[in-house]
C-alpha cells in the first residue's frame, strides 16, 4: 500500500511549479504531494532541478508559475519566514551555521522577536536537550560550531528545524558529507521523526539510500517529474533508467598498466596530514576516498606545491624535492585540477586567454618580462578547439562560462603541459552528465599516456569506478593501498569512519 492510497493527511502539495532562469527551464510544471509520516525521496542527476525546487519551496526563489499548499493553506511565495512559520524546516547541503557561535545560539537564532530584551536561555536549553534526547541527536549545546564534526553539525541543522516545531523536514543531499555509518544514524533519526508524525523529503542521487529509506520516490530529469512511484514497487535499475533517461550502463574502465613510481611520500607531515606514506605510479589512477575535511585539501596542496612538507621525505621521479612551491611543482611536471574552479582555478574577471596561461605566462609566453599576447591567443584558440570549450571566444570573460566549460578549459590548461603527475581534486563536482563523462575520459587518457593520476573524490562510486588503486583518508591518516575491487563499498565505509587505522597519533 502506498501513501497515496492510504488516506493519510496531505501535508504539502506542490502544484505545477515552473521556474525559468533566462532561457533555461530549471523546473517545468512540477507537482508532488507529501503525506503525514511519509519519507519522500527526490531523485535526480546533478542539474535536474532538485535544489531549485527546494529553494522555491523555501522561499529563496520565486516561482514563475505554480503554487504551494502547506497543511491546506497556500504558502506565500518568496518568503523564507513564511515557510518556517508554516512548519517547514530545511537542512541545506552546505550547512548554514555560524562557526563562532554556539550550538544553542545557532538553534535559537531568529526564533525570538529581535526586540525582546532577554534571550530566554534556560527555557531554550531545556527544549534543545529534550529534542536531542527524543530524536537521538546527541550534541553539546554550549559547544562552538567550529569545534564540531560534520556529522554533529548536521544534527544541529536538524535540531534547528525541530526547535521551530517543523512538521516537514527537507534534507538536501544529507549523506554527501557523512560516512555510511553516520548516514545510517541519520536515517534512524528520520524514522523517529516520522513515527512522531513528521514528514520528510530527502534529496539524493544515491540509489541505495533511496531504496532503503524512502516510502515514495519522485524522479526528476531536466526539470520535469519523469516518475513517481512507491519505493516498494520499484528497483534500482528502474530508478536509474528514469534518472538518466535510458538503461544505465555500468561504465567499465580497463585497468591501467603500472609504470615506475613518479611521486613518493614517506612519513610526511604537513598541515592536517600525519605520517603519510604514498606512492603514485605512472599509468595508474590512484583514488583517494574519504569524507570531506579529513585532509584531502592538505594532500592536494602538498602535492600541488601550496604546502611544504614539515617532516618526512617527498620525491618526484626519484629526486627529493627542496623549495616546494606551486611554481616548483608545475616545473616538476605536476598538473593540478583544483577543487574549487571558481575560487582557485580561475580568475572570474579575466578572459579565457588570460586564464589559459595563468600558470605558464612567465615561462612560455614572455620575453624580458613582456607577454606575447598573440602567442597566448593562438594557444587559447587551440585549447578551445582541442577541449571542446563552448564559449564566445578567447577574449570572453571566463565568468560567463558554465561550470563544465570552465572545467574543460582548466583541463586543457593542465593537459597541454603533458603532466607526469596529475592531481584531480573533485574534478566533476557540480557538472552535468556529459561533462562528467568527458572529464573522466580525459583522466583515463592521461593515465594511458603515462601520467600518475591522483583522483580525490567524496563520491565513492566515482573512485571505485575509475581508480586502479584506492586509499582511504581519515583524520589526516592514509589507509594502505587497496587494489581495485579488493574492498566492498561497506568495507571502504568502515575505513572512512576511521576504523582499521593502526592507532591514533
Amino acid at each position: 500500500m502506498s501513501f497515496a492510497q492510504s488516506g493519510a493527511e496531505v501535508v504539502l502539495r506542490l502544484d505545477q511549479i515552473t521556474k525559468r532562469f533566462g532561457r533555461l527551464v530549471a523546473n517545468d510544471a512540477i507537482s508532488l504531494t507529501l503525506h503525514k509520516g511519509e519519507v519522500l525521496a527526490l531523485l535526480g542527476e546533478n542539474g535536474a532541478g532538485k535544489t531549485t525546487l527546494m529553494n522555491i519551496l523555501f522561499g529563496h526563489y520565486l516561482a514563475d508559475e505554480g503554487s504551494v499548499t502547506v497543511f491546506g493553506q497556500p504558502l506565500p511565495a518568496g518568503q523564507p519566514k513564511a515557510a518556517l512559520a508554516a512548519g517547514i524546516g530545511m537542512v541545506h547541503q552546505h550547512f548554514t551555521l555560524a562557526d563562532q557561535l554556539t550550538v544553542l545560539e545557532n538553534i535559537t537564532l531568529g526564533t525570538k522577536s529581535l526586540w525582546s530584551l532577554g534571550r530566554g536561555r534556560a527555557a531554550a536549553l531545556a527544549k534543545v536537550q529534550a529534542l536531542s534526547r527524543d530524536f537521538g541527536l546527541a550534541v553539546a549545546p554550549m559547544a562552538r560550531i567550529a569545534d564540531l564534526s560534520v556529522g554533529e553539525r548536521q544534527r544541529v541543522e536538524i535540531l534547528k528545524a525541530l526547535y521551530r516545531d517543523a512538521r516537514i523536514l527537507i534534507l538536501d543531499e544529507p549523506t554527501a558529507v557523512l560516512t555510511p555509518q553516520e548516514a545510517e544514524a541519520l536515517f534512524q533519526t528520520l524514522r523517529l521523526a516520522t513515527a512522531r508524525g513528521l514528514s520528510v523529503i530527502f534529496i539524493s542521487h544515491k540509489l541505495h539510500e533511496v531504496m532503503g529509506h524512502s516510502d515514495t520516490c519522485v524522479v526528476l530529469r531536466h526539470g520535469r517529474v519523469v516518475g513517481q512511484v512507491a519505493t516498494r514497487d520499484t528497483d534500482r535499475r528502474a530508478l536509474a533508467a528514469l534518472m538518466v533517461g535510458a538503461e544505465m550502463t555500468e561504465a567499465t574502465v580497463a585497468p591501467g598498466v603500472p609504470g615506475p613510481v613518479r611521486l613518493s611520500l614517506t612519513g610526511v607531515r604537513a598541515g592536517a596530514l600525519r605520517d603519510l606514506t604514498l606512492e603514485l605510479r605512472a599509468g595508474t589512477i590512484t583514488g583517494l576516498a574519504g569524507v570531506s575535511g579529513n585532509g584531502q585539501a592538505a594532500l592536494a596542496d602538498l602535492i600541488g606545491g601550496a604546502l611544504g612538507p614539515e617532516a618526512g621525505e617527498m620525491r618526484v621521479d626519484g629526486a627529493p624535492v627542496a623549495q616546494w612551491t606551486p611554481r616548483a611543482a608545475i616545473a616538476a611536471g605536476v598538473g593540478r585540477i583544483p577543487e574549487d574552479r571558481h575560487k582557485t582555478g580561475t580568475v572570474a574577471d579575466f578572459t579565457l586567454a588570460e586564464n589559459a596561461v595563468l600558470e605558464t605566462y612567465a615561462q612560455r609566453f614572455a620575453r624580458l618580462g613582456f607577454i606575447d599576447w598573440a602567442a597566448v591567443r593562438a594557444h587559447t584558440v587551440a585549447l578551445i578547439a582541442g577541449y571542446d570549450v563552448r564559449c564566445p571566444g578567447p577574449e570572453a570573460r571566463i565568468r560567463l562560462l558554465s561550470g563544465g566549460n570552465m572545467q574543460k578549459l582548466i583541463l586543457g590548461r593542465v593537459m597541454e603541459e603533458t603532466p607526469g603527475i596529475l592531481i584531480a581534486n573533485q574534478p566533476v563536482r557540480g557538472l552535468d552528465v556529459g561533462a562528467i563523462a568527458y572529464v573522466h575520459s580525459r583522466l583515463v587518457a592521461a593515465r594511458d599516456a603515462g601520467a600518475a593520476v591522483l583522483l580525490i573524490s567524496e563520491d565513492l562510486d566515482e573512485v571505485m569506478g575509475l581508480a586502479d588503486v584506492i586509499h582511504v583518508i581519515s583524520e589526516g591518516r592514509l589507509s594502505p593501498a587497496f587494489p581495485r575491487g579488493a574492498l566492498s563499498q561497506a568495507e571502504l565505509g568502515l575505513w572512512m569512519a576511521g576504523q582499521g587505522f593502526a592507532h591514533a597519533a
Binding site: 520565486l62 606551486p326 580561475t346 580568475v347 579575466f350 588570460e354 600558470e359 618580462g369 613582456f370 607577454i371
Partner: protein, 347 residues
C-alpha cells in the same frame, strides 16, 4: 527584489549608466547652488569657464591636474592589486622633502633633477613598504596603517619646517628655503606657465599602462587583485607582487610631491597639498583604475576644483561645493558601474 548578473551588458548600458551618474552629479550641483541662493545655471557656467574659459584657466587646470595624475596613478596601481594604499598624502610629502633636501644646494646641475626624482621615488616607495610588509608578514590591515602614517608624516613635515629645514629668511613662517634654479623643473613651452611635471605625469601614465597590459608584472598585479587565491594557486609570487606594487605606488605618489616642489612651488610648506593624496582616490576610482583614464579624470577633477574656486569668488557659493560634487560623483559612479553588471529584478 534581487540582483541578477547581466551576462553581456549592452553598449548603451555600459555608457548610459555612467553618463547618468555624471548627469545626476550635475543635478546635485544645481541643487546645492540653489541652496546657496545662487542661480544654478550661472554657477555651472562659472565653474566651466573658470576651469577652461581662458588660457590662464586652462593652464591653471593643467597645473592642478599634475599632482592628481601622479596620486591617481599611485592609487590605481595599488587598488588594482587590492592593496588599499590610502597613504598617498604621506608619500607625496616624502617626495617633497627629498626635493628640498637635494634641491637646496646639496647637488648641482646637471645631476640634481634626475637624482632627486629617483631618490624621491625611492623615499615614497620605502614609506609604503612598511605598511605592506606589516600586511604580508603580520596580517596588519594596511588601510588603517597607511591612513595613520598621513598624520604622522604631517607632524614630521611640521617639525622639519620649524626645525632643520626652516628657511632662515622665512620671517618665522614654517616654510623651507627656496630650491636653487637648477633644481627647478623647466617649463614645457617657453612663455607658458606649465612645468615639465605635467609632461612627466603623462609619461608615467603611459608607462603604467604598458606595465599593466603588456608585462608579466602587470598581469600578476591584476591577477592578485582580482583573485588572490587563484594567483597563489597558479604559482604567482604573491608577496613579491604586492611588494613591487607598493614600491610602484608609493614612488608615483612621491613624484606628485616632488613635482609640486620642483615644478610649481619651488619650496616646501605645510599647505603644499590640499589633500592631493585623498583626491587621488577619487581620480583613480572615476577612471575605473585605468592608467590612461586617470589622466582624463585628473583633468576633470582639477577642472572642477579650479572652476569652483573661480565660481566661488564670483557667486559666493562656498568652494567646498567642489569636494561635495566629487564625492557624489564617486559614489554615483561606483553604483553606475555596478549596475552595468547586474540588474534589479523581482523575485
Amino acid at each position: 527584489m534581487r540582483l541578477e548578473p547581466v551576462a553581456n551588458p549592452t553598449l548603451l548600458r555600459q555608457l548610459g549608466l555612467p553618463a547618468l551618474a555624471l548627469g545626476a552629479t550635475v543635478l546635485v550641483a544645481m541643487a546645492l547652488a540653489l541652496l546657496a541662493g545662487a542661480n544654478p545655471l550661472a554657477v555651472l557656467g562659472q565653474i566651466v569657464t573658470g576651469a577652461v574659459g581662458s588660457r590662464f584657466a586652462v593652464l591653471e587646470t593643467l597645473n592642478r591636474a599634475t599632482p592628481l595624475i601622479f596620486t591617481g596613478l599611485a592609487v590605481a596601481v595599488a587598488f588594482r592589486a587590492k592593496l588599499w594604499n590610502i597613504g598617498a598624502e604621506a608619500q607625496l610629502y616624502a617626495g617633497a622633502i627629498i626635493a628640498v633636501l637635494l634641491g637646496t644646494g646639496a647637488l648641482g646641475a646637471p645631476f640634481v633633477l634626475p637624482v632627486s626624482a629617483v631618490v624621491a621615488l625611492l623615499a615614497g616607495a620605502m614609506l609604503l613598504l612598511v605598511p605592506v610588509l606589516l600586511k604580508v608578514r603580520l596580517g596588519v590591515d594596511e588601510v588603517v596603517t597607511t591612513l595613520l602614517l598621513n598624520f604622522i608624516m604631517a607632524l614630521f613635515v611640521s617639525y622639519l619646517l620649524e626645525g632643520p629645514l626652516k628657511d632662515p629668511m622665512g620671517m618665522g613662517w614654517p616654510k623651507s628655503a627656496a630650491l636653487i634654479p637648477e633644481a627647478r623643473l623647466p617649463r614645457m613651452v617657453e612663455g607658458l606657465r606649465l612645468h615639465w611635471g605635467f609632461g612627466l605625469a603623462l609619461i608615467a601614465a603611459g608607462i603604467v599602462w604598458v606595465i599593466h597590459t603588456r608585462t608579466t608584472l602587470g598581469f600578476e598585479m591584476r591577477a592578485v587583485g582580482a583573485n588572490i587565491r587563484a594567483a597563489r594557486f597558479a604559482g604567482m609570487p604573491v608577496t613579491a607582487v604586492l611588494v613591487k606594487t607598493a614600491l610602484l605606488s608609493g614612488g608615483l605618489a612621491a613624484l606628485a610631491g616632488w613635482s609640486e616642489v620642483a615644478g610649481a612651488k619651488g619650496h616646501l610648506s605645510l599647505d603644499l597639498s590640499p589633500g592631493f593624496g585623498y583626491t587621488g582616490i577619487i581620480v583613480a576610482m572615476l577612471a575605473l583604475l585605468h592608467p590612461l583614464g586617470v589622466v582624463v579624470t585628473a583633468l576633470f577633477v582639477a577642472g572642477v576644483f579650479v572652476g569652483a574656486d573661480a565660481m566661488s569668488r564670483a557667486a559666493g557659493v562656498p568652494t567646498y561645493i567642489a569636494d561635495m560634487l566629487l564625492a557624489v560623483a564617486l559614489l554615483f559612479m561606483v553604483l553606475a558601474i555596478a549596475l552595468t553588471k547586474v540588474r534589479v529584478v523581482r523575485g
